[in-house]
C-alpha cells in the first residue's frame, strides 16, 4: 500500500528552487525539484516518514510526513535557507555537532561558498582574513610553503603555538614530514566543505591536550543520501609573477659608488656587465589545477570520489610542486537508520623541487657588474657560470656563489605521500531512545623521501682535489621519514528532552600514538659512491620515536527552553612525553549561554533577529615541546666526523643529554565573553568577543644552574604569559533583491601579549635572547623578558640629524655611562600584529558576481635584516677578492659599517593587502540544460599598501631575511557541473 507526496521547495525570497534533492529517509525513494521548485514522489509506503531536502550551500531540512495509502499528500512550507544565516545550522564541535544557536563557545565556521577564491594550494589559505583573531601568515611565495597560523596570539614561548587540526574527526599530525614544507599542503582544498575554528577554551577544552592554541576542524565534502549522480569538473590556470623587488643598486649606480668611495683594488674588481640578478632568478610561472569529483548515492550509500592534479611552478627558477590527490568518502546508513558509517580516505602524492631561499638573498647581493656566464676557461669546471675564483681556479673562500648557477646546479627534490583515513561508526542503540555509541578508527600515514644533488659544477661544494674527476666534486645527500599515527576514539552519548529542557551527556576515551622514524644517510660526492667526508661512517642507522596520548573526555549540555544554555566539558590527558606521576593533566571547561532573543520580550521584535550572550571559562594543555623523551636520561652517539681520538685510533662517543625529570603540562586558562547579534532578519549579524588567556607553568627554555645538569639550557615549566584581546565581526547584506545581492564581512581582532613571569630574573640579567640575525653569527635581535611581549625587539635607539638621516653609530646612551654597548639596548616594538583586520565583499548581479578580500595587520614591526646586513659601504667591499651589491637604503643612511642593532631597521610593517579579487560569471545551463558552467577570473595579492621598506612586511617572526617574495597571481577558472 503506497501513496504519493508532492510539494514545492522555495528559497528565502519565496522563489522556487530547481534541482533540490528530495528524499524519503532510509529509502531510495526520491526526486529532484523542477525548474519551479516543485516535486512529487510516487509509490511511497504508507505511514510516517521523514522527508529530507538538500541542496549544496543551503541547509538541509527534515520534515515529518505521513503518507496515506492511495492518496497524494501535499507537503507545505519547505523553505531552504542559506547555511550562514540559519541558526539551525549544524556546527561541528569536538566529538559531535551542535546547532549554531546552542553553541556557547567562540566558534566560527566558514563554508566552501565563503572560501577565498583563486589559486589556493593550501587549505589554511581558504580562510585567510575571514575570521577575527585568526592570523595566517604564509611562509613566502614558494608553492606549498608552510603558513604560521596563530589563533589569538602566541600562548607559549618555546612550545608549539600551532592550532590542532582535526580532519573529519581525526586529529592529524601537524608537524609535517621531511620533504614537505607544509603538511596541510597534502590536503586538496577542493575537497573541503567547511573549516570551523574553535577559539576559546570552553569550545576547545574537549580536545584538552593540544587545544591551547585553538582547534581547526576541517570537514570534507560528502555525498548526500539519494542525491543524483553529479560530476563536477573544475579547471584553473594561473600565471604568477613577482609582485615586488628588493630595491638594490643597479650596475651603473653601483659602479659609480665604488668609483667614488672604493679603494683602488676595489675599483679594479668592478666588472663591465650589467646584470639584474633578480630578473635572472625570477620568472613568470604557470599553475594548472584540475579537479574532478563524482558525487551521488548508490543503493543507500552516498559517496563522493574526487581526483585532483596540481602543477605549480614557483616564481623562482627551478622551483616546482606537483600534487596528485584523491579522496573517497562513503556514508552508508544501515539497520533502519540506526547505524551510520562514515568512511573517509584522502591520499596525496606530492613531488617538490625546492630552492634554497639563500639564493634569493644571493641574487640581492651579487655584484651587478658581473655576468651570469663567462666564456673564460677558468669557468668551465663551473658549467661556464661566472664565479669568484682564485688565480689557481679554486673558489674564493667565503665568496657568495652565482645564484643562477646555484639554482640550476642544485636539485633538491622530494616525494611525499600521505594517507589520512578513518572509519566512524555511529550507532543509535536499539531500544534506548537518545543513546548513541560512536567509534572512530583513524590513521594518518606519511612517507617522505628526498635527496639533494649539488652537481659537480656547484661552486659551494667544489673539491679542489677532484680536478680531472668531476664525480669527486659536488654533494649528494638523502633523507627519508616515515610517520604513522593511529587513533582509536570511542564515546557514548545520551540525549533526552524533558519538557522544555534538553540534556546531552557524553563520555569517551581516546588513544592516539605517533611513530616517527627514518633512516640516516651519509653525504656523498655527486658520483653518489665517494664519501663527502672520507672518514665518515654511519654510526646510527636511523631514528625512531613514539609518542602516546591517552585521554578520557566528557561533555554535558543543558538547554532550557532554547534560552539558557550550559556546556561543560572535561578531559583528562596522559602523555608519554612526561614521566609517570606528572603525565596526567586535567582540562575542564564551562560555557554559559543566554539566548536573549528567545525571551518573550524580544520574541516579536522584528528588528532584532538574534541576540545571545556567551560566557566561557576553560583550561587547556600544552605538552608539545622538544623531543619525545626529554624527561629521560639519554645517551646519544656521535657521527663519523664527531669522534674523539684515543691513542692513534678514534672512536665515536656517547654523550649524556640533559634532561628534566619534572617536565609537565603547561596550562592555559581562558576567559571568554561574547555576544552574538543579528538585526533585520539577520541582514546584519555578527559577534563580539573579549578574552584573556593566561598560560602557566610555561614551557620555556631556560638556563640551568651551571653544573647542575648535562647541558646549560633546558626546557622547563617556568613563568607565565598572558594574551588579552577583543574581536569583532560583522556580516551585512545591504542589498538583497531579485537581481542584486551584496554581502559584506568585516572582522577585526586586537591582541596584547605579555610575558608576566620567567622565573628568577636577577638585576643585571636582561632575559632570553631570541631571533638570530644574518651577517653576525650568534647575534640576536629579540628578547623574551618579563613585562614585554614575547620576542620584543631589543635594540639601540638611533639618533637622527636635523634632516632626519640616521647618524651612524650614534645611539641614545640609555644608562648614561658614556659608552654605547649592549647595555644601552631597549625594548622596542613587537613582531606580532596588535590588530588583524579582514574585509570582504561580494556583489552579485544576476549571473555575475564580483568579490574581493582585503587584509590588514596593524602594529607589527619587522627587522629589515637585508638592509641592516647589506646596506652599508663596508659590506660592499665584500672581501678583498669580491664585491657585494648594496640595497638602495644606503641612500637613506650612508652607513659605512653595519649597524645591526639600530632601531632604524625595526620598521613599521603594518600593511593593507588586497588578497583577492574575483569576477565570476555563472553561464548557467549548457549542453541542453544538462550541465552548469561557471567561469571565474581572479587576481591574488592584487596590491599592497605599507610603509615597510623591504620586499614584504608580512614576515612571520618579524625578521626579514632571504624572503621568497609572494607572487601576484592571475587565475582563470571554469567549473562544470553535470
Amino acid at each position: 500500500q503506497t501513496g504519493s507526496l508532492s510539494g514545492q521547495v522555495v528559497d528565502e525570497k519565496n522563489q522556487g528552487m530547481p534541482g533540490v534533492t528530495v528524499l524519503i529517509e532510509g529509502t531510495s525513494l526520491g526526486n529532484s525539484t523542477n525548474s519551479d521548485g516543485t516535486y512529487s514522489i510516487q509509490n511511497v509506503p504508507a505511514g510516517p516518514h521523514t522527508l529530507i531536502t538538500s541542496f549544496v550551500g543551503f541547509n538541509s531540512q527534515r520534515i515529518p510526513v505521513t503518507v496515506v495509502a492511495g492518496q497524494n499528500t501535499a507537503v507545505t512550507g519547505i523553505t531552504l535557507g542559506e547555511n550562514t544565516t540559519l541558526l539551525n545550522e549544524a556546527v561541528v564541535v569536538g566529538y559531535g555537532t551542535q546547532r549554531r544557536q546552542d553553541v556557547t563557545g567562540s566558534v566560527v565556521a566558514i563554508s566552501s561558498k565563503d572560501f577565498v577564491q583563486g589559486q589556493v594550494t593550501n587549505p589554511e589559505q581558504l580562510i585567510q582574513g575571514k575570521i577575527a583573531g585568526v592570523s595566517i601568515t604564509s611562509g613566502g611565495g614558494a608553492p606549498g610553503s608552510g603558513s604560521t597560523v596563530r589563533i589569538r596570539g602566541n600562548s607559549s614561548l618555546n612550545a608549539n603555538n600551532d592550532p590542532l587540526y582535526v580532519i573529519d574527526g581525526v586529529p592529524v599530525d601537524k608537524d609535517g614530514i621531511s620533504g614537505s614544507s607544509n603538511p596541510l599542503s597534502l590536503i586538496n582544498p577542493n575537497d573541503i566543505e567547511t573549516v570551523t575554528v574553535l577559539k576559546d577554551a570552553s569550545a576547545t577544552a574537549i580536545y584538552g591536550n593540544r587545544a591551547a592554541n585553538g582547534v581547526i576542524l576541517i570537514t570534507t565534502k560528502k555525498g548526500l543520501q539519494g542525491e543524483k549522480l553529479t560530476v563536477n569538473v573544475s579547471s584553473q590556470t594561473s600565471v604568477s609573477r613577482r609582485a615586488n623587488t628588493y630595491d638594490v643598486l643597479t650596475a651603473q649606480e653601483y659602479t659609480d659608488l665604488v668609483r667614488t668611495k672604493g679603494s683602488a683594488s676595489q675599483i679594479a674588481r668592478l666588472g663591465t656587465a650589467s646584470t639584474d640578478w633578480q630578473s635572472e632568478i625570477f620568472r613568470t610561472a604557470a599553475t594548472y589545477d584540475n579537479n574532478v569529483s563524482l558525487t551521488g548515492s548508490v543503493k543507500n550509500v552516498p559517496f563522493r570520489v574526487s581526483y585532483g592534479n596540481l602543477y605549480q611552478d614557483g616564481i623562482v627558477i627551478t622551483n616546482n610542486l606537483k600534487r596528485n590527490t584523491g579522496s573517497v568518502s562513503l556514508s552508508p546508513v544501515l539497520f533502519d537508520n540506526h547505524l551510520r558509517i562514515d568512511v573517509n580516505a584522502k591520499g596525496s602524492q606530492v613531488t617538490n623541487r625546492f630552492i634554497d631561499n639563500g639564493q634569493v638573498g644571493n641574487a640581492v647581493l651579487y655584484d651587478p657588474t658581473k655576468p651570469v656566464r663567462g666564456s673564460e676557461s677558468q669557468f668551465a669546471p663551473f658549467g661556464g657560470y661566472f664565479q669568484y675564483l682564485q688565480p689557481d681556479g679554486i673558489p674564493v673562500g667565503l665568496a657568495p656563489g652565482n645564484p643562477v648557477a646555484a639554482l640550476n646546479n642544485t636539485n633538491n627534490v622530494s616525494d611525499v605521500k600521505r594517507l589520512i583515513g578513518n572509519v566512524q561508526f555511529d550507532y543509535k542503540i536499539h531500544g534506548v531512545e537518545g543513546l548513541r555509541a560512536n567509534l572512530n578508527l583513524g590513521t594518518d600515514i606519511a612517507r617522505g623521501d628526498g635527496n639533494t644533488t649539488n652537481s659537480s659544477q656547484d661552486f659551494g661544494n667544489y673539491n679542489p682535489k677532484a680536478i680531472g674527476n668531476a664525480n669527486l666534486s659536488g654533494r649528494y645527500t638523502q633523507f627519508n621519514q616515515k610517520k604513522d599515527m593511529r587513533l582509536l576514539e570511542s564515546y557514548l552519548a545520551y540525549a533526552r528532552q524533558l519538557g522544555g529542557t534538553k540534556f546531552d551527556v557524553q563520555g569517551g576515551y581516546s588513544y592516539q600514538d605517533f611513530v616517527n622514524k627514518g633512516d640516516n644517510f651519509l653525504a656523498f660526492r655527486s658520483d653518489r659512491t665517494t664519501l663527502f667526508n672520507p672518514e665518515d661512517k654511519l654510526t646510527v642507522p636511523g631514528y625512531y620515536s613514539k609518542l602516546v596520548l591517552v585521554s578520557f573526555f566528557g561533555r554535558a549540555t543543558v538547554n532550557v527552553k532554547d534560552r539558557y544554555l550550559l556546556t561543560a566539558t572535561w578531559r583528562n590527558d596522559n602523555t608519554s612525553r612526561f614521566r609517570k606521576g606528572v603525565r596526567s593533566g586535567q582540562f575542564p571547561a564551562v560555557g554559559l549561554g543566554w539566548r536573549i532573543k528567545g525571551e518573550e520580550f524580544l520574541a516579536n521584535n522584528a528588528a532584532i533577529s538574534e541576540l545571545k550572550l556567551r560566557l566561557g571559562w576553560g583550561r587547556t594543555g600544552q605538552q608539545d615541546i622538544g623531543g619525545v623523551y626529554d624527561y629521560l636520561p639519554r645517551y646519544s652517539l656521535s657521527n663519523g666526523s664527531g669522534q674523539v681520538q684515543l691513542g692513534n685510533g678514534t672512536t665515536t662517543t656517547l654523550r649524556p643529554s640533559g634532561y628534566n625529570r619534572d617536565l609537565t603540562w603547561e596550562t592555559t586558562t581562558t576567559w571568554n565573553a561574547g555576544l552574538d547579534y543579528g538585526f533585520l532578519d539577520n541582514r546584519v549579524s555578527g559577534s563580539i568577543d573579549v578574552y584573556e588567556r593566561t598560560s602557566r607553568d610555561l614551557l620555556a627554555q631556560i638556563n640551568v644552574p651551571a653544573g647542575g645538569n648535562l647541558t646549560n639550557q633546558l626546557n622547563a615549566n617556568i613563568g607565565s604569559l598572558r594574551n588579552r584581546g577583543i574581536e569583532f565581526n560583522i556580516n551585512g547584506s545591504p542589498v538583497r533583491s531579485a537581481d542584486w545581492n551584496w554581502d559584506l564581512n568585516f572582522n577585526v581582532a586586537y591582541n596584547e601579549n605579555e610575558i608576566t613571569d620567567l622565573g628568577s630574573q636577577k638585576e643585571g640579567f636582561v632575559g632570553y635572547s631570541v631571533g638570530g640575525i644574518p651577517g653576525n653569527t650568534g647575534s640576536f635581535i629579540q628578547l623574551n623578558t618579563i613585562g614585554a611581549a614575547s620576542s620584543s625587539f631589543f635594540v639601540r635607539k638611533q639618533v637622527y640629524d636635523s634632516n632626519g638621516r640616521p647618524l651612524e653609530g650614534v645611539y641614545v646612551d640609555q644608562n648614561g655611562d658614556g659608552i654605547i654597548n649592549p647595555n644601552d639596548n631597549y625594548l622596542y616594538k613587537q613582531p606580532a600584529p596588535k590588530a588583524v583586520l579582514g574585509f570582504s565583499s561580494n556583489v552579485a548581479y544576476k549571473q555575475l558576481n564580483l568579490s574581493f578580500l582585503l587584509r590588514s595587520n596593524v602594529g607589527n614591526y619587522t627587522y629589515n635584516a637585508t638592509a641592516a646586513n647589506l646596506a652599508n659601504l663596508t659590506n660592499a667591499q665584500g672581501s678583498t677578492a669580491f664585491l657585494i651589491n648594496i640595497p638602495s637604503d644606503i641612500n637613506n643612511t650612508g652607513f659605512t659599517t653595519q649597524q645591526f642593532f639600530s632601531d632604524y631597521y625595526i620598521q613599521n610593517a603594518s600593511f593593507l593587502r588586497c588578497e583577492n579579487i574575483t569576477l565570476g560569471y555563472n553561464v548557467g545551463k549548457i549542453f541542453s540544460e544538462k550541465a552548469n558552467l561557471r567561469l571565474s577570473a581572479a587576481v591574488q595579492n592584487a596590491f599592497l599598501v605599507t610603509k615597510y621598506e623591504g620586499v614584504d612586511p608580512e614576515i612571520s617572526g618579524g625578521i626579514d631575511n632571504n624572503f621568497y617574495p609572494r607572487a601576484r597571481t592571475f587565475t582563470f577558472g571554469l567549473n562544470l557541473g553535470i
Binding site: S265, Q390, P391, D392, I394, G397, L398, Y462, N463, P464, P534, E535, S638, N639, G640, S641, G642, Q643, V644, Q645, L646, G647, N648, T653, R655, P656, N660, R661, D662, Q701, N703, V704, P705, A706, G707, G708, N709, L710, T711, N712, Q713, L714, A716, G759, S760, Q761, K762, G764, F765, V766, S769, N776, T777, G778, N821, P822, N823, S879, T880, A881
Partner: protein, 490 residues
C-alpha cells in the same frame, strides 16, 4: 668538539652559536685576545670586548666559556657517577671494569683541569660533583681558595692513584701521572694569585718530576717546512719527535673530529686572504680574524735567528703590513702570526675540501714545564738555579736551531730574571693559552706596568680596573643559582 655531529648540528650547549661554543676556542680567546698577543677585527657579539677589556656579565662569549667549563664538569661527574665501583661490579666483567676505572681516573683529571680553568678565569663559582643530582639543583658557591684546595687534592690523589697511568705508559692523547704533576706545578706557580700563599717550592718539585719522566724537547726540524719548534704545531705533530715533547695534546683530525673550534679555529682564524698565506697554513679558506700587536713582535730580538718568531708580513696585495696598528679593526693593520699550520712535515696541506685542522693542540708540553721550573726557582722556590738556567738555554738553543746540549753564543743567556722569564714564556708559549695568566702573575694584565696597543680600547693602551683580573660570573647563572655571588666590580 662541540656536539655529536661534526662539525656542527647537535650541539652540547645552548645560548651560543655551536661553532663558537668550543672549549678551546673560548679558552684561547679569554687567555689570548685579552692580551698583547692577539686582537681581532671580527664582529661576533662580545668578541671585541676581549681586547677592549670592557666585558660585562652579559658577554655571550664569557657566558659560553663558563657554560662549556661547567658542561665539561657535568659530563665528567656523569661518567664518574655511572662508573662507581658498585655499578661497575654490577655491569661489567672485572677486566672491563679495570679499563673503565682508568677512564674514571682520567675523567677526574679532566674535571680537575676544568675546575682549574674556572678558578683561574672566574675565581669563584658553583661547585658540583658526582654526588649531586642531575636536575635544576643549585650547586653551592666555592671561593677561589676552596677551588684551589679541591683541585690540589684531586690532582694529588690522582698522582697516587693506582688506576691512573704511570708516566708515558698510556695511549697517545690520554693522560697519566706526569700530566697530573704538570697541572699541579702550574697550579702551584699561580698559588700566590689564587690563594695569597706562594707555593714555588711545590711548583718546582712537581715540575722536576715531569722533566725527569723521560720526555724530550723536539729537536728535529721538518726540512723546508718547519723548524724543530714549528714542527710542534703541524698537522702531524702526533708523530714521533714532536710527540715526545707533548705531554697532553687535544687530538684533532680533519675528517674525524670536525668542529669550528679547536685548531681549526686557530688555523683558519689566523689566516688571511692572501693565497700564499693560505698555502703556508695549508688551507684553501681564510677567516681573517687574528693579528698580533708589536708587544709580541718586539719580544723577538731577531726573528731571522729565533725560529719561534714567525709572522705574516704581507697584505693581500703583497705590500708590507705595518707592525703598528692604526685601526684596531682593520685586518690589514698589524702582523699575522704563522704558528699553527695545517700541513704535514712533508709540507702537504691536510685541510681537505672542508678545511678542518688535523693539528693536535698541546695542553701541556715539556718546554712549559721547564719554564715553570725556572720561574719557580727564580721566584725563590727551593731548587737548582743552574738547572733552571740550563732548561731555559735548552729551550732557546732549540729555538735558534742549535744543538741543545752544547753552549751557544747566539742563544744562551747567562742568568735568569723574572722579567726575562715572562718574555721567554711569551716567545715560547705565545698563542698557546697562557698569556693572560702569566700577565696577571706578573701584575701586568690590568695595571699601567705594561701597556700594549689597544689595551682597554685605546691606541696606545691604558690601565684598566683591577677587577678585570677575574671574569664575571655570567648574569644568566646568577639569576638561576641563588647561592652565587658576583665577582667584585661587576
Amino acid at each position: 668538539l662541540t656536539g655529536q655531529q661534526g662539525p656542527a648540528g647537535s650541539g652540547d650547549i645552548g645560548g651560543i652559536d655551536e661553532g663558537t661554543s668550543d672549549y678551546l676556542r673560548q679558552f684561547w680567546s679569554a687567555q689570548e685576545l685579552s692580551t698583547d698577543e692577539a686582537l681581532t677585527n671580527w664582529t661576533d657579539p662580545g668578541i671585541r670586548d676581549w681586547h677592549n677589556m670592557n666585558w660585562n656579565s652579559n658577554n655571550p662569549l664569557i657566558t659560553g666559556l663558563y657554560s662549556r667549563i661547567y658542561y665539561e664538569i657535568a659530563i665528567c661527574n656523569e661518567f664518574i657517577r655511572e662508573s662507581s665501583d658498585e655499578k661497575l661490579a654490577a655491569r661489567l666483567s672485572s677486566e672491563d671494569a679495570a679499563k673503565v676505572k682508568q677512564y674514571r681516573a682520567e675523567a677526574r683529571f679532566l674535571r680537575a683541569v676544568s675546575y682549574m680553568h674556572a678558578l683561574d678565569l672566574f675565581g669563584n663559582g658553583p661547585f658540583v660533583t658526582e654526588n649531586d643530582p642531575v636536575g635544576f639543583f643549585q650547586p653551592p658557591y666555592y671561593t677561589r681558595p676552596q677551588f684551589f684546595a679541591f683541585v690540589e687534592q684531586e690532582l694529588t690523589a690522582l698522582a697516587a692513584d693506582a688506576d691512573f697511568a704511570a708516566p708515558r705508559s698510556n695511549e697517545y692523547a690520554r693522560v697519566d701521572k706526569a700530566a697530573a704533576w704538570a697541572m699541579l706545578s702550574r697550579l702551584y706557580l699561580n698559588a700566590q694569585v689564587y690563594t695569597g700563599t706562594a707555593r714555588f717550592t711545590d711548583a718546582a718539585i712537581q715540575a722536576k718530576k715531569v722533566i725527569d719522566a723521560g720526555y724530550a724537547l723536539n729537536t728535529t726540524a721538518a726540512p723546508n717546512v718547519a723548524s724543530a719548534y714549528g714542527r710542534l704545531f703541524l698537522a702531524d705533530n702526533n708523530t714521533a719527535s714532536a710527540r715526545a715533547e707533548i705531554i697532553w695534546p687535544v687530538a684533532l683530525d680533519a675528517n674525524k673530529t670536525q668542529s669550528y673550534g679547536g685548531t681549526t679555529f686557530l688555523v683558519n682564524g689566523s689566516t688571511g686572504p692572501n693565497p700564499e698565506w693560505q698555502k703556508a697554513t695549508g688551507q684553501t679558506t681564510n677567516w681573517a680574524g687574528f693579528r698580533t700587536t708589536k708587544g709580541l713582535f718586539n719580544l723577538f730580538a731577531d726573528t731571522a735567528l729565533d725560529t719561534r718568531g714567525r709572522f705574516w708580513t704581507k697584505k693581500v696585495d703583497n705590500s708590507k703590513r705595518s707592525v703598528e696598528i692604526a685601526d684596531h679593526y682593520a685586518f690589514e693593520d698589524g702582523l699575522g702570526v704563522l704558528k699553527y699550520r695545517n700541513v704535514s712535515s712533508a709540507g702537504v696541506g691536510q685541510g681537505g675540501a672542508q678545511n678542518f685542522s688535523s693539528i693536535d693542540f698541546p695542553m701541556i708540553r715539556l718546554a712549559e714545564v721547564m719554564l715553570t721550573y725556572a720561574e719557580a726557582v727564580t721566584r725563590g722556590g727551593t731548587g737548582d738555579a743552574n738547572l733552571a738556567l740550563t732548561y731555559v738555554n735548552q729551550i732557546r738553543r732549540r729555538a735558534y736551531a742549535q744543538p741543545i746540549n752544547t753552549a751557544s753564543t747566539i742563544a744562551d743567556v747567562s742568568s735568569l730574571s723574572l722579567n726575562f722569564i715572562l718574555d721567554e714564556r711569551g716567545r715560547e708559549l705565545f698563542w698557546e693559552g697562557y698569556r693572560r695568566t702569566d700577565l696577571i702573575r706578573f701584575n701586568r694584565f690590568t695595571t699601567s706596568a705594561y701597556l700594549w696597543p689597544w689595551k682597554g680600547g685605546v691606541k696606545d693602551g691604558k690601565a684598566v680596573s683591577d677587577n678585570l683580573n677575574l671574569y664575571p660570573i655570567p648574569s644568566s647563572d646568577l639569576s638561576v643559582n641563588q647561592n652565587l655571588k658576583q665577582n667584585p666590580g661587576y
